[in-house]
């Protein structure tokens, strides 16, 4: 069996950030890159499946620049067997890669790798689109389930028994037939830390570089009727009274407020 785990390196903005000139993104100096939180759980789920049965290969795919190799290596260090990184000048020059384009690129990778199971994160922490996995499933004609926080894979009868985490502390129990794309929710497992041995082994694992043309695609794939036209800091809606001073002074003022509100009697 082959498991394909899609991963994305995401950026997080520093506390005091500035927008880049031209302002279609935050200035790179204020961005810190890491593996997407949701993908960490997807990676762990894939690796656990491989550990529980024989002959399971786990392959990760990412769409991202060379910088992201460092992040992808973390997935390899945690037990992913090999990785694919899709990038080229066309992608580099695309300011906004829409859902359809991402799904098309991943569809081409699926055609090449022929996985039985695809795991994605529910959403990427930076743009929060939350659509790639299900769009991919439809494109490749797989079944799917979004926001999965429990998975019991029965390859014998070709079914994934999943829990989908709904709103308000309710989970939906669903059976989906394989092959399937599952978008994985945080908390489904406990992502491991990479061991030193794992980190060493990851150095010799393959990260295969692919361009769009290697996948039989071209610039048309990235064309979109959607374009990112601006990014700005929203006007603050805050009318909070901010207590100032040393930590002790701040705590004093808050304690006084709590006193006035009659907090402690209870």
């Amino acid at each position: 069996m082959k498991v394909l785990v899609t991963v994305k390196e995401v950026a997080e903005a520093a506390d005091d950030f500035e927008l880049a000139e031209g302002a279609l993104d935050i200035d790179e100096r204020y961005l810190e890159y890491d593996l997407n939180e949701w993908d960490e759980y997807a990676v762990e789920e894939g690796v656990e499946i491989a550990e529980e049965s024989e002959d399971v290969e786990v392959v990760s795919v990412t769409i991202g620049p060379e910088r992201s190799e460092e992040t992808i290596r973390m997935a390899l260090a945690k037990g992913v067997d090999r990785a694919i990184r899709v990038w080229d000048d066309t992608l580099e020059g695309t300011a906004f890669l829409d859902v359809e384009a991402r799904a098309s690129i991943l569809e081409a990778v699926v055609a090449e790798e022929e996985p039985d199971l695809v795991l994605t994160g529910v959403q990427a922490a930076d743009d929060g689109f939350g659509a790639t996995g299900v769009a991919l499933a439809d494109a490749i004609d797989f079944e799917w389930a979004a926001v999965v926080n429990d998975l019991d894979l029965d390859t014998g009868d070709g079914t994934a028994h999943v829990h989908r985490e709904l709103e308000g502390g309710v989970e939906e129990l669903t059976d989906v037939s394989l092959p399937v794309v599952l978008s994985i929710q945080t908390g489904i497992n406990e992502p491991r830390y990479a061991s030193l041995r794992g980190i060493r082994q990851a150095q010799s694992k393959e990260i295969a570089p692919y361009g769009l043309d290697d996948l039989g695609l071209d610039a048309e794939t990235t064309e979109s009727t959607l374009s990112l036209t601006s990014m700005y800091e929203p006007e603050t809606e805050s009318d909070a009274t901010v207590f100032e001073g040393s930590p002790e002074e701040e705590a004093d003022q808050l304690a006084e407020l709590f006193g006035e509100m009659g907090v402690v009697e209870g």
């Binding site: 829409d98 359809e100 790639t132 389930a145 978008s183 945080t186 603050t236 808050l254």
Partner: protein
Amino acid sequence: MTVLALAEHRRGNIRPVSYETVTAGRGLADALDTELHLAVIGGEVSEFAEDLNRDGVDTIHAVAAGEEFNHDIYTQVIESLATDLDPRVVLMPNSVNGLDYAPAVASRLSLPLITDVVGFDAGDTMTAIREMYGSKVETTIEIDADRFCVTIRPNEWPAAEGAGDAEIEEPDVEVDESRVGSTVTGFEEVGGGDVDISDADVLVSVGRGIEEEENIELIEELADALGATLSSSRPIVDAGWLPKNRQVGQSGKVVTPDIYLAIGISGAVQHVAGMKGADTIVAINTDPNAPIFDLADYGIVDDLFEVVPELTAQFS
């Protein structure tokens, strides 16, 4: 030509986000000078249709197909309705079920998709507004297409209120069962147990800013000193540091205490969904741009590890 909005129901009840899609859909229909159609799929559709007949809806399509939500059925039904109605916009909620069918609908219809939209600007070209980087920035996305799909963020548009006079249709939509590869077998309530944080008058809530499991104690001590109840954001529960029944938010509990003290919590939209109804919100966070301050009545922009022990000392 229409705007086609989708309602949502679960276990026999219409979900509130449905009335928000009516409001957002009406706005788009006005901007595009077209009608608002609303579809409700599965369950007691006739009853649902009555309930959804609010001011602003022109036509309701009540499609009997299954009981509960099933993405394969939804996708097929919407594809079929869209083929008949040729909607300019297919408008869906960015709910957990929305995440499970909206991308498939857009893919089936070969339409562009923008998710989690918080506003529209219908100028010469239609523009959608959405947030990025954990609500720290907003972006505008221009839609250079005659037809598109969107999902809207819950709790951003007011619910449609007044009674409407929509035409109610109950079309027969053929579902190809061979393309239904998923079955809902049940529901499970999680997060029960001895503590019900939604009963508490004062909640002291801890987030990822606490960094390590052993530091939770610091917050526990404060909660004890204040006679308050301890709650948390999701990452604390995901990490197994506190049980699920302590989680505030979209997938946890909705709480409405007199005082909600958020410590090291950024104020992500799914967290805010669970605590925005608190009377008084206080935030302690090192990041002055953290979205939690948009909601807070009182704030301290400082290191929790310095402030919290001082605060605890005041009450011990």
